[in-house]
Symmetry: none
Subunit: 403 residues, 2 copies
Amino acid sequence: MLILDGVSDRPINGKTPLSEAYTPNLDKLAELGINGIMDTIAPGIRPGSDTAHLALLGYDPFKFYCGRGPIEAAGAGIEVKTGDVAFRVNFATVKGEGSIFEKIVIDRRAGRINDTDELVKAINEEVKIDSDFIFKRGSGHRGALVLRGENLSDKVTDTDPKKIGGRVKKCIALEKGAERTAEIVNDFMQKSHEVLERHPFNIKREREGLLKANALLLRGVGKLFSLPKFEERYGMSLAVISGTILIKGVGRIVGGELIEDSRITGGKDTDLNAKVDLALKALKSYDFVLLHIKACDEYGHDGDFDGKRKFIEKIDKALERILSLDFSEICVVISADHTTPVSVRDHTADPVPLSIVFDQVRKDDVKRYSEFDAYKGGLCRIRGIDLMNIILDLIDKAKKYGA
Amino acid sequence: MLILDGVSDRPINGKTPLSEAYTPNLDKLAELGINGIMDTIAPGIRPGSDTAHLALLGYDPFKFYCGRGPIEAAGAGIEVKTGDVAFRVNFATVKGEGSIFEKIVIDRRAGRINDTDELVKAINEEVKIDSDFIFKRGSGHRGALVLRGENLSDKVTDTDPKKIGGRVKKCIALEKGAERTAEIVNDFMQKSHEVLERHPFNIKREREGLLKANALLLRGVGKLFSLPKFEERYGMSLAVISGTILIKGVGRIVGGELIEDSRITGGKDTDLNAKVDLALKALKSYDFVLLHIKACDEYGHDGDFDGKRKFIEKIDKALERILSLDFSEICVVISADHTTPVSVRDHTADPVPLSIVFDQVRKDDVKRYSEFDAYKGGLCRIRGIDLMNIILDLIDKAKKYGA
């Protein structure tokens, strides 16, 4: 399953980056397969990449989505467990007197700090609160915090004011029973601030004229609940190849194995050939391989039509070897998690093109992989949540309902 | 409503029995009508013929499917009532010492016995258990058992080991409250075995070197719950024409009347002209006629491409007279309950082609009744559960929701 994050678009003068791109390999795959359009969540619902990927893997996001915190924490490498409450974290710079909640955020990224290892270590060693916790860094100024213990609640507010000049927010309980979690979070906020404020690494940064990374801002709270594992559910092992923490996180919470490689960046500079190599190799030892390619989405967010078109052409070149797969043995699915129009610079709910290439499918007349062709195909219009069932049926792993 | 059981397929070298068949009449109907593809249950969900027919008649199988036992019992002619617990039954041959549960199944079909009338009579007369019961024969070695009484449960296991050489299984309660039903079933197992073992008909069979039909194996347990009757629901009388016990059963549990005729076999040898005759006649006295034709499914299960194609051509010939119906008065629906690919030899979830012929429909450009044309039609892709509502709307029997 190849997911081209945000590859589809809305037309500008009748053209999209995908329709304008020269994509002989994607087109050949569309020609070999059955095509359609897909609402990854539901018609008109703008998908996040996380909710969309849950749906694409057959997990109803309305039932299984637990918020971004646990997914990012899992993607950052924390073994998130059922009942854990997790936050996304930013290292930030605050100024002022008094407690952390009296201080003002002057930089939400602490001068785009990148070397947080020492600070992370200090927090894990020195902060003592009324709960076990795991704090791990992500890329750059980012990190993830997991609280672990009995009766934790995710019905609490963020502490990130989400704007420069805002005061650090107190965590507030949103329902009865969440008060203790809010207290733990506030305690963590204050104690981590104290550890960071006086840390030699920050003192040194200050001396060098850099912003101190003296506060942790928490957002995206969520509580992981029990998810049936992909392999138990479908009888297939799952490998996930992605450079994006969020997608790695989805892969991990459903029990998939991550295939990691330093050449995979999750960005515009990722090594697409390496990714395809890893996917082709993974197909030999895993039953199901999810290959996620991110950067079309970034070009969409940037509003960069031509950049997006060119990146699609790069992807297309890297996909040439996919055409030599034995489609009597391997079912290839090509789609996206959502549309990211360069005109909107954000995700939209426009359905995504979908091609399924497998000897057993009813080939249709579609000969191009694009927004303007896919809807004419034999799949018509489906929902993301139905895709796994359709695949299971095609590969003969479906059970009959009734007699 | 004409249901061609399992008529659709997956392509072999780009061709299916339906796409290869010469079907001028089906094609004409497609041309006259509006077309589409249909997931009778849901995309990717492999339908049984029973669950699919429930959906096609507007009964959500996830809500109304009660297991195969009650449906087969109804199809075999038993007046199954709400609360009845029913099983499918095989006459079988067992050997060994001790109680029925110590014996080994040596033939699950008792040498494909066909003349079970005397044995059925003896069981109904001589077996006394702590519940009313009705035991009726089906075709060949088959039968149906209905238990009737207060507080019976279908949360019990089968007694059929489903393999030769297996010991007859004790019926086990799967939840609290089902123990009494399990006891009744086990008592029936033992007592029916005793009656059969000593029955003169079986003694005679043994003397003739035939296998004794000395045990009844039970499977497919289900409990019939209250279903709204078709006529109450839609204000239309329903006639069902089918040679297949399972479909007759669906027709009966929704309150339809069966039109029976010895020329209808439910097999490859059925008299298709007689079926169409009966349907055309039934249209004069019933509001809604379900005409079910089985054998395409059988050819699919047999993996017989050419047999399936030829049978489709036979159906097509028999349908010629359908073209002379007055489509301003009569709405004709042509579809299937599921796909039965000759390559898979079982039901799959590939959507089925659907044509609705009626003066009021929006005719589309489809001119062939096939898997490769239907999806291009004006109905796009719908679900089975929506079909009855679409029909009710077309024939002006739908109510407005809202003002």
